[in-house]
Symmetry: C2
Subunit: 663 residues, 2 copies
């Protein structure tokens, strides 16, 4: 058997497994795996540093299938390479409930799935974060421990999405030369030929972003090999435009959108078998072809063994720290650093914006948290995410812990996902809360993938004032609380801010956002007691001082207003308690008794938040009183804006009195 024949057989094994699985599921995308099988075969058989027996070892090359709809390409590869938790039965279960072989690759379902992809452009942007994480960890620990490539298979759709612009700009700027993107350049999208909607020059576009580029025949193994070899030697990130035929081998559907997103049909699969000379039954891979694939893995086994030697030879402290960071364990002295900070500010009770409080907390935390990588989408001085000890990374210089992401919220968030997925880093970065809309698709994926990614979202309400409704979040707290497995923190003061930071760092299994004010807020938690009260999501900050007639619930900057309303009510002889609600999600995680006692049984329940009501009925009931927004905001000095929309202590206390009078 010639090497060419072997390559062809190996690639055809991917093609037929993919066709067969899609056919069996009667659902899925055969076209991409068939078209990109040659690319994947060369990449994995000649280059990928990947040990199927230990698919998650730290210094593996990463392979990101950005075009996640072609999931059968990845599943076929993992099976053929011999990854233990990807069996032939798993392939046969493609797209069935509970299977590992979901419609789109889902992180954590099997070794070798580096990220959850499907929403286009996300995988590409994840890969930028992975490649940056690799360089930053290499700067921290040396190339003996960290030295690998990040490969991406991207489709036309990945490159049409706006996020691709942000991603490639960042990568080109930062000279992430170990990032190699293989573009499945097949000229086909769902609506038909790509020329229906695209006539730009992709290579020129990438060159303008400081990438190396080359165009090759994506079905010519030698060309693919040469192009990857060249890319590995480049001092820039590389785009390899692989001209392919979608549905390669299918006599009647190849090179048409018909091959993209539906099963080929038994008849066409039979015709493809004939056309490609594949005489085997469905899901049958001949022994010699399977052997050829399994032998590929041996290289990875050796590479891992070499790495293990280097790891064992490293000095014990470096090794321990590297292992800790890759496991995602927090440093032992973090808790005490946070607690000391909280004790101090409880004492000092400063009046500061929570964005400033966040910076103060980070000043205390960051020296103890070398895995923290902070940043901002060009709002560093506004987000307060850069502390005094942070240094930014720069093109070719990765010894830092801060990233100037540029005005690229979406690319930033997706790259942060990639950094978290890579491991060894806790990404945290900032923009305005209103612009979480720009990064929302990536925040959602962090939640779906259970990644510890932390977003600092400042200027969190109409309290930002003059910038007006385009910049004033009104619906964003609700919209973020709506995302499953995302913790939305909105602390009321410096103490809660530090508590919430601690909780987001402890949140190993999901992302967090911190919604923080522009405007100054007093310290309300002047008694601490050494307990993280935010950990329960909501708690009684001030008691009624008698049987409660009114319960006031609030978050963030409106807790101050609730406390003032309580004072006004007390002046009127009315007992009101205040419940601070820094995190809905953590409150939901408490037991029913705690929830019931925190909500209490006051006849009048009022929630105050400078945002829409949605979600607050949980606390106040659907007949409760809500003091907040039901429209977009307005441009003006912030205190006037608050007054204009009636979000004041007076309004709350008057509403409480009126409701009590009605009782």
């Amino acid at each position: 058997m010639t090497e060419t024949d072997r390559h062809t057989d190996m690639a055809n094994a991917i093609r037929f497994l993919s066709m067969d699985a899609v056919q069996q599921a009667n659902s899925g995308h055969p076209g991409l795996p068939m078209g990109a099988a040659d690319i994947a075969t060369v990449l994995f058989s000649k280059f990928m540093k990947f040990d199927p027996t230990e698919p998650n070892w730290p210094d593996r090359d990463r392979f990101v299938l950005s075009a996640g709809h072609g999931s059968m390409l990845l599943y076929s590869l993992l099976y053929l390479l011999g990854v233990e938790d990807m069996s032939l039965d798993d392939l046969k279960d493609f797209r069935q409930l509970g299977s590992k072989t979901a419609g789109h690759p889902e992180y954590g379902f099997a070794g070798g799935i580096e990220t959850t992809t499907g929403p286009l452009g996300q995988g590409l942007a994840n890969s930028v974060g992975m490649a940056l994480a690799e360089r930053m960890l290499a700067a921290d620990f040396g190339e003996e421990l960290v030295d690998h490539y990040t490969y991406v298979l991207a489709s036309d759709g990945d490159l049409m999405e706006g996020i691709s612009h942000e991603a490639i700009s960042i990568a080109g700027h930062l000279k992430l030369n170990k990032l190699i993107v293989l573009w499945d350049d097949n000229d086909i999208s769902i609506d038909g030929r790509v020329t229906l909607s695209e006539t730009g020059d992709m290579l020129e576009r990438f060159e303008a972003a400081n990438w190396d580029t080359v165009r090759i025949d994506g079905h010519n193994a030698a060309d693919i090999e040469a192009a990857i070899e060249r890319a590995r030697g480049s001092d820039k990130p590389s785009l390899i435009a692989c001209k392919t035929k979608i549905g390669f081998g299918s006599p009647n559907k190849e090179d048409t959108s018909k091959a993209h997103g539906s099963p080929l049909g038994d008849e066409e699969i039979a015709a493809t078998r004939e056309a490609l000379g594949w005489t085997h039954e469905p899901f049958e891979v001949p022994v010699d072809t399977l052997d050829a694939w399994r032998i590929v893995g041996v290289k990875g086994v050796h590479e891992r063994a070499e790495w293990t030697k280097r790891h064992d030879a490293a000095d014990v402290q470096t090794r321990a720290e590297f292992d800790r960071r890759m496991r995602g364990d927090l440093p032992a002295n973090l808790d005490s650093a946070v607690e000391a900070f909280i004790a101090q500010v409880t004492e000092e009770a400063p009046k500061v914006a929570t964005r400033k409080a966040s910076e103060m907390a980070l000043e205390a935390i960051i020296p103890h948290l070398p895995e923290a990588v902070s940043g901002s989408a060009d709002l560093t001085g506004s987000n307060n995410t850069r502390t005094s000890t942070m240094t930014p990374v720069a093109p070719g210089d990765y010894a830092g812990n801060f990233v100037h992401w540029g005005i690229r919220e979406h690319g930033m968030a997706a790259a942060m996902n990639g950094m978290a997925l890579h491991g060894g880093i806790i990404p945290m970065s900032g923009t305005f809360l209103v612009f979480s809309d720009y990064s929302r698709p990536a925040i959602r994926l962090a939640a779906l993938m259970h990644q510890r990614v932390i977003h600092v979202l400042t200027h969190d309400s109409i309290g930002l004032g003059e910038d007006g409704p385009t910049h004033q979040p009104v619906e964003h707290l609700a919209a973020l609380r709506a995302i499953p497995n995302l913790k939305v923190f909105r602390p009321a003061d410096v103490v809660e801010t530090a508590e919430c930071w601690h909780l987001s760092l402890l949140s190993e299994d999901g992302p967090s956002v911190h919604a923080l004010t522009r405007q100054g807020l007093p310290t309300l938690r002047t008694e601490n007691g050494g307990k993280n009260r935010s950990a329960k999501g909501a708690y009684e900050l001030a008691s009624a001082g008698g049987e409660a007639q009114v319960s006031l619930f609030a978050s963030g900057s409106e807790v101050e207003i609730a406390m003032e309303a309580r004072a006004l009510l007390r002046d009127a002889g009315i007992n009101a308690r205040v419940v601070s609600v820094p995190c809905f999600e953590l409150f939901e995680a408490q037991d029913a008794d705690y929830q019931a006692s925190t909500i209490g049984e006051a006849p009048v329940n009022i929630a105050i938040e400078a945002a829409i009501r949605m979600g607050w009925d949980r606390f106040i009931g659907s007949d409760g009183i809500f003091i907040g927004m039901d429209s977009f905001g307005a441009s003006g000095p912030y205190k006037e804006v608050y007054a204009h929309f009636g979000i004041t202590a007076e309004a709350a206390s008057e509403a409480a009195k009126a409701a009590l009078a009605d009782e």
Copy 2:
């Protein structure tokens, strides 16, 4: 006075008005107006077809300040040009509550504000829609009536945002040669020099997207004039990179990020006055300079008069139709077309997916609605947004009513905003509901701007099945319902689908989304009665047949489940009613009596929606029973996925029985 001196004075008038207003507000962005004053002066004095006495006449050139933070540039221009509703007092009220001169330009606040900008990249993408609308209307009505340019002033931030990639790709592909982007290429962003995060070649990037490009000195009036002249003659859209100094004229802050986003301070303004030789008081514009500006407007008055002659000379039918479309009035026979369709499907009661029902409704509507421009982000066959009579536009050929937007949800949505803002077109286009996250920032702006933009969002729940959680919206209905002034329709069958389409077309003052199923649904509204019952947002679809023990509330595909649960309960001798809830927002607009009677007084209240609970407490109370999702979905055949998550008629009826037993 030389022409150069006059130009300098005119530009300096912009500079000082901007500086003074920002200083007076003690808030705002002086740097851009100072840096871009020369560009704006040349553009408006030499080219803009703009009549200050009638700033909204149909065939005016559009000017989009994509860099909305530089709002004082626009306000100064409008005042200097003599637009009636922009006075010197308005400038003095910059950023004050209730003023026209909001922090960022807000559409509708004054003539000449073509769009609301501030969130970066949006204005640029709006302008693509405006330029496309111009070409499409010219194809419909001839260049006698429609023949104008769209000019954009864009900042570095606009061009870093991902949406800019989508926008310029569409524009370049479609050869929108009357779109001219003036890039304020000042090398400064908030964090410092742009090179902190960007080192790409912008001209090469635009050329790769089929744009003409040129780089000029943005402070040289002759160069600016020549470049715009050249761009007007191009057969491609044009980028003019104008090298400028942010904060031009400020001795200590020019060319630094210090000039960007805060007042210069009295001292620095005094120094700038001296440096630029401007001897006038704050807010004082010398008479000859004001005259020079006011004379500019005369050209526009004449141009409009010429256009009015052509308009009057057009045949009466063309003129009437053009005027109708520009006013945004619907055709007279639309209502009867919708009603005939509804009568027919009420009779035929087909079982179809609501995405298919939407296509059927559009088949009935589109022949009567020439202003409809449909499209899809490369999911045409899935969104069912292209009817049999639609023809796509293509590069250089704009005689069509369908746009293949490509895989560019965000750019599409923002361009749709631009089309609606331009007038004469009702944009409607499609993607999957889950990808509304990608277009969300633009949907928000449509709501803020009160624009009739219609989004068809198919595959609206776990009911899409095998594609799995990356493609299954769970939180998106709640997140969209959270946006003020956006109507979220989720029809239950073909009848409601047609009703909701009618309502979204009638919604002149705001955008709509239609959340539509992939899976087939029976016709439930088999009695019609000639009334649009969806218009009230929620209505009793099936009565309890006796005193109601259970109220079942549901939307979309879950109304069928609610009806089945009602039948199961009836079998058990329990009276249950079903309320269909196609639109929360319209329900909120009803009077309290209607709301109370629709919610009813059954002891047990259950809501069913294959999505999260958030928002449903309005109907069922915080103690009501919710049958839906509280996590991400799963990949599998859709009926199995529904069963897996317990969203079934059986689950609902069992929950009702258990709750009744507890009563």
